[in-house]
Point group: C2
Chain length 470, copies 2
């Protein structure tokens, strides 16, 4: 197929078409209904061209050409990000990783898997499972998000308390630099103290420093026994004590410690009739506790024993233990209700913030009081991965006047900054949280980030204007 180059196209696009062909370089006329925006609901321009490369070599060539023409480029994975990090501001080329997918190799002796960056997370999880292992990173968008996007944003999710964030699942990454040089991706060892850890610099840099093309991932043993309980807790002090005790006393540790404030629990049970209340009475806090390991019989015994001791000590008022996978799924359905927000809570403002665990109660009480005072009729839902200090707040009022949402953000982010919390525990900065980055990172930290960005991408070609202004 002959590339349809016309003098009307920018030089960079002409050069890309010439070098890579129309199989890789798509022009706006061919986009059809293709979506370019991510899941942040932020405004997104159309790219001046779309690249769909199939190899690192093609990406390197594309970046070399873009660099020669000072052409900005935005890397796009599964477009499931919530911060506008993959959105276009106008004039960029979009680099889609959708055809860079596949499991390159699995080594069950070394417990490693090498995958192309465009591979969907779920495909990575399934390949690990099929090989008899587990890839523990997990989040709601698993079916459509790509592992490269998970690494670019250092995704979190459900099992951080036991296995860490996306960055903790990685032994090495292959990255294409703005000038087209290719770096890393050959190493599969666990320990490597040879100079600056570039892996951790590129992971979480939201596509502003390089294009992640391949990853060497760590696999974990697949847990064969999972114990789950849904608990009623009398107060926040007990929540904290339960966390400490569960981590120290449960033989297999804690794989989930999800806390729901009562407002959230009652709201979702009322609005979503398919949910069943696991506990008969009302409690100050609700806790979903999970421990996963090996040896089901010994583990379940120890789990029940632990809950009985906590009950005797007054830390728990009630607990329902899952007797089957179906029970466990029913407990998780209560925690996963935010998947239904689009339907039951339109026009909401959502937060993904974190604090030192010992500050959570007071910081959240501060937020809640400030919100209730200013918007007494608003729905305020609070819940989160408490074991990681990560709390989600969702605020909504049906008939808000324009501007209210910005005001809600200013209240919650302001308080987050006062408590030395993070304005983005796991969703990243992108475009959406750029205005509040300075509440968590100091001016000097941002200066150093900018100096690094300039050192690696001096022409500001990769995802310009995201995360930082240069």
């Amino acid at each position: 197929m002959t590339p349809a180059i016309t003098p009307g196209h920018p030089r960079a696009v002409q050069a890309l078409l010439h070098a890579l062909g129309a199989q890789v370089v798509q022009l706006p006329a061919d986009f059809g209904n293709r979506q370019h925006a991510d899941a942040s609901r932020m405004a997104c321009a159309e790219p001046i061209a779309l690249l769909r490369p199939v190899s690192t070599a093609q990406i390197a060539q594309a970046l070399r050409i873009c660099s020669e023409h000072r052409q900005p480029i935005v890397t796009q994975g599964g477009l499931t990000g919530l911060s506008g990090g993959a959105c276009l501001r106008g004039g960029e080329i979009a680099l889609s990783m959708e055809r860079m997918r596949g499991i390159e190799s699995i080594d069950m002796q070394a417990s490693t898997m090498t995958v192309l960056a465009g591979t969907p997370l779920q495909m990575v999880q399934q390949a690990a499972e099929a090989a008899g292992a587990m890839f523990p990173l997990d989040l709601g968008a698993r079916g459509s998000c790509s592992i490269g996007g998970n690494l670019a944003t250092n995704a979190g999710g459900n099992r951080v308390i036991k296995y860490g964030m996306a960055r903790d699942q990685v032994l090495d990454i292959e990255v294409v630099l703005p000038g087209g040089q290719v770096l890393g991706g050959r190493h599969r060892m666990i320990k490597n103290n040879t100079g600056y850890d570039l892996r951790h610099l590129f992971i979480g840099s939201e596509g502003t420093l390089g294009v992640i093309t391949k990853a060497v991932l760590k696999l974990r043993p697949k847990p064969t026994a999972v114990s789950t309980a849904f608990c009623g807790v009398p107060d926040f002090a007990a929540v904290i004590q339960l966390l400490t005790r569960a981590q120290s006393e449960l033989p297999a540790g804690v794989s989930a410690f999800e806390v729901m404030w009562p407002g959230y629990y009652h709201f979702v049970l009322e609005r979503l009739p398919h949910l069943r209340a696991p506990l008969a009475r009302r409690h100050a806090f609700y806790l979903l506790l999970e421990s996963s390991g090996a040896d089901a019989e010994r583990q379940n015994q120890a789990f029940e024993c632990f809950l009985a001791k906590c009950m005797a000590d007054g830390l728990l008022q009630d607990a329902a233990i899952a007797g089957s996978d179906a029970d466990a799924l029913a407990f998780w359905a209560i925690r996963d209700a935010p998947g239904e927000y689009q339907r039951i809570l339109p026009g909401r403002v959502s937060f993904d913030i974190s604090f030192a665990i010992s500050d959570v109660e007071a910081a959240i009480a501060h937020c809640e009081a400030a919100l209730r005072e200013r918007w007494p009729k608003a729905t305020v839902l609070i819940y989160g991965h408490l074991g990681d200090g990560n709390i989600h707040i969702v605020v909504q009022e049906p008939d808000w006047p324009a501007g209210s949402m910005a005001e809600v953000q200013s209240v919650v982010y302001g308080i987050t900054g006062q408590w030395a919390g993070s304005v983005s525990a796991e969703h990243g900065i992108g475009l959406k949280r750029k205005p509040v980055l300075g509440l968590t990172r100091s001016a000097i930290e941002i200066d150093v980030m900018r100096a690094i960005k300039r050192a690696i991408d001096p022409d500001n070609l990769l995802n310009p204007g995201k995360l930082l202004d240069c």
Copy 2:
């Protein structure tokens, strides 16, 4: 005390004395027998002045003055490093962290501890223990190494398989930049996706990018049950299978998986009469296996059960289970015999290398064959943290001609490079391994490191010539 400034002292030293006084700034005339070299046995010059600050503010002021005078500065912790990273090449000021010691705070709800960088590792461990928790980083030099040095070099040690390297124990660090600006150290949350992870960039940068002055550390639950066994294993395939099965089947996972090749085992038992052989017969490999968690009774049962199954499956030929702390210490004494090398193996060449676990057997066989062919009479000892892919090789021959050591290094590092291994799994690069950095890191990776170094320390004042040449 009036500072003894004379016109003979460099301007930077005069300015430092003027600003900080003789309590902080020591001149060579006052050094006495003070040692300036680290444990690498590399040549080390005397500093033109020694700084012994007690606060971050003093360090910031010192770095500002050094920066104004383009005065190079080398930060020194406990001087236990093995790569010459803290040695002086001549003309530098030494910045000792010895008076920056102390535990600033412990928060048992958040499981965090904030410490000054000069605090000895053992003091950190003891403070955690006294508070009812554990700080898991542990290495032989615990009594004299400082936590700041551990972070600057991303130290490894005995429990990496379960808890990770030094970088995995850190929530935030406070760093003074070359110009005297102070960055970080305020955050105690587990999740924080707000831009580039500067923490991971400074950790492991060996004092070339900034001075780590304070750290917010993660504490872990103290294990109340430790099960230990010393095992005889028939072949390397069985070693690997044992690793995989232990990680997946032991309820509390694996906290140590130390493998000793027979040459090492027999050498140390023969040379160190205080050691007792735990097993009656000879085996192809010896394994020290440890699992630590909670609930001693259930755990010990599961541990014995696991070993019995592995025996029945032919993966183990023999196993001695520690029945007491004294037994466990006796097993560990065999693995810890390298502490006696100074006496029993003078003039040795030591390696700290790593590979993908599935490459260890072949890569090590390759090294061993090459060494035996060239030096048939040499003592070659092999052992290591196999669960992390980290192997130590020690080579010695009593009457080596000059130059042999360099030749031994060239053989082992060359083979390490061929197997895509790391020339420094945990000891860092410093001065000693700078010539072989390129065997593990590509030219492009080193270029990016250099660009980062120039962006953060444009005048190359912090630990110049270490890790990288700029």
